[in-house]
Symmetry: C2
Subunit: 238 residues, 2 copies
C-alpha cells in the first residue's frame, strides 16, 4: 500500500497548514519517500481510531502509515521512526544531535509558535473548516486561558516574533541552515511554524531582508519546490 | 608546561565568574584535562597580546594555552579544539549536533544572559575589581544603549528569565541533561550563565523546585563538585 500521512486540512482540503504535519512532510521528502495525504479535520476523531491514540479527544495528526502498515503517531516519533527504518539521508544525527533537537523543538513550540499565533490567529481561524471552528475555539481557549479574540494581537505578536527570532538569525548569519550546509530535522521542525503562517496568513510574516525569510525561501525551494507549491488561503479563499 | 586558562576574575582573584570561561572549564574537566587558571582583569589587555587578538580592545578571555604552547581564543573555538586534539569523551558530537549547539549557544547569549544580567547586574558590578569598573560600564553601556542603572531591573529580569527558561525546562522534564543522560557541550554552554549568577549574586536565581535549578545542582556536583567549590562573592566579599 502507498505510504499515507493523515494531515489536518482547512475548509478547502488543499489547504494543509499544521506545523507538526509540515515537519513530517519535509522529513519524508528529505528521505526521498513517496506518500499520499489523507485529509483530516478536527472533528474526524473516529477516523484516527486505528492509530491507537486514546481517549478519542487525544487523537491528533500527523499519523503516518508506512507501506507495510506500520502506524506511527506524533511528529517527533515519526521522524525518529524514519531515521530508524530508512537510515540513508539522516535527519536526527547522533545522540547529542537528537538531544539538542529537542531544545529546538521546544523552542519552536513554546516560543516561536505562540508569537506567530498571535499574528495569524484570525487568518488561521478563517481557514478552518467551519465544522472545526467550535472544537478549535474550545481547545485553544482552554489552553491559552483567554478568548481567541483577546489573544490575537498582531502588533504584540510581531514584537514577540522579532525577539524570538534572535537566536535563529544569529545561526543563519553563519550558516545557510540550522543544521549546517544542508537542511535536516532542526530546519524542518522550525520551518513547520513558518509554513503554518504561509498557508493561512493574508500578510507576509517577515520582511524580505530578514535572514529568516531568506532561509524559509531556501526551504520552500527544496525538493523541487515542494513546500512552495502548497496552496495558500490567499490564493484559494475569498 | 601546564595547560593554562586565562580567566576573568573579580576584586578577589578567587572570584571567577565569566560565563564564557565556565563553558571552557567544564569542557576541560569533561575531558579530564588538568589546567591552571591565570587570573586576568579587563584592564590587562597587554597580558593577552600573545594571543593574537587585535586590536588590543578586542582581547578577551578565555584564552587557552595547551601544554605544547598552542594558543586558542574564543570559548566555542576552544571547545572545538579540545574535541579535535582530545577526541575521547566528545563534547560536540556529529555535524548536526555541532550545528544545533550553535542555536543553544546563541539562545544562551541572546536570550538567557540578558535576562540574568537584568537580575545580577548590581552584584556583578560590585564583584568586579574597582579598576575594571569604568571599562565594564563604558563597554556594557555602549552595548546596551542605556546606563547600567537603567538596565538593571530584578523584577523584569525574573519575568524574562521565567519566560526564557521554558524550552530548557521542557527538555529537562524528559532528560537529566540538555545533552541526554550525561552532560556535554550544550549543558556547559548554558550552565556558564548560571555559574556567572552563582558566583556574583546575593540572592538565589531560581526556586529550589525549578527543574533548571535541579539541573544546575547536578552540574555543580560533576567532576567531584568542581563548580560547587568555586568561591562565591557572598562568601568572600562583605
Amino acid at each position: 500500500m502507498p505510504r499515507q500521512l493523515y494531515e489536518l486540512c482547512g475548509v478547502d482540503e488543499r489547504l494543509v497548514f499544521s506545523p507538526y504535519c509540515w515537519r513530517v512532510k519535509m522529513a519524508l521528502k528529505h528521505k526521498g519517500l513517496d506518500f499520499e495525504t489523507v485529509p483530516w479535520h478536527f472533528q474526524d476523531k473516529d477516523a484516527l481510531a486505528f492509530s491507537g491514540q486514546e481517549p478519542s479527544e487525544a487523537r491528533k495528526v500527523p499519523v503516518f502509515v508506512d507501506e507495510d502498515g506500520t502506524v506511527v503517531t506524533d511528529s517527533m516519533a515519526i521522524i525518529r521512526y524514519l531515521d530508524r527504518i530508512y537510515p540513508a539521508r539522516p535527519l536526527l544525527g547522533d545522540e547529542f544531535a537528537a538531544a539538542r533537537l529537542e531544545f529546538i523543538r521546544h523552542w519552536s513550540e513554546a516560543v516561536l509558535s505562540p508569537a506567530v499565533l498571535k499574528i495569524i490567529l484570525g487568518d488561521l481561524f478563517a481557514t478552518l473548516d467551519p465544522a472545526d471552528q467550535p472544537y478549535f475555539r474550545r481547545t485553544r481557549e482552554a489552553h491559552l486561558g483567554i478568548s481567541l479574540e483577546a489573544f490575537q494581537d498582531a502588533e504584540a505578536g510581531h514584537a514577540a516574533l522579532d525577539r524570538a527570532l534572535v537566536p535563529l538569525r544569529r545561526c543563519l548569519a553563519h550558516s545557510p541552515y540550522l543544521d549546517g550546509e544542508a537542511p535536516a530535522a532542526a530546519d524542518y521542525v522550525a520551518f513547520g511554524v513558518f509554513m503554518w503562517a504561509r498557508v493561512v496568513a493574508r500578510q507576509p510574516l517577515l520582511a524580505k531582508d530578514d535572514l529568516v525569510d531568506q532561509w524559509t525561501e531556501r526551504l520552500l525551494a527544496c525538493f523541487g519546490g515542494f513546500a512552495a507549491k502548497s496552496p495558500r488561503a490567499i490564493d484559494i479563499l475569498r
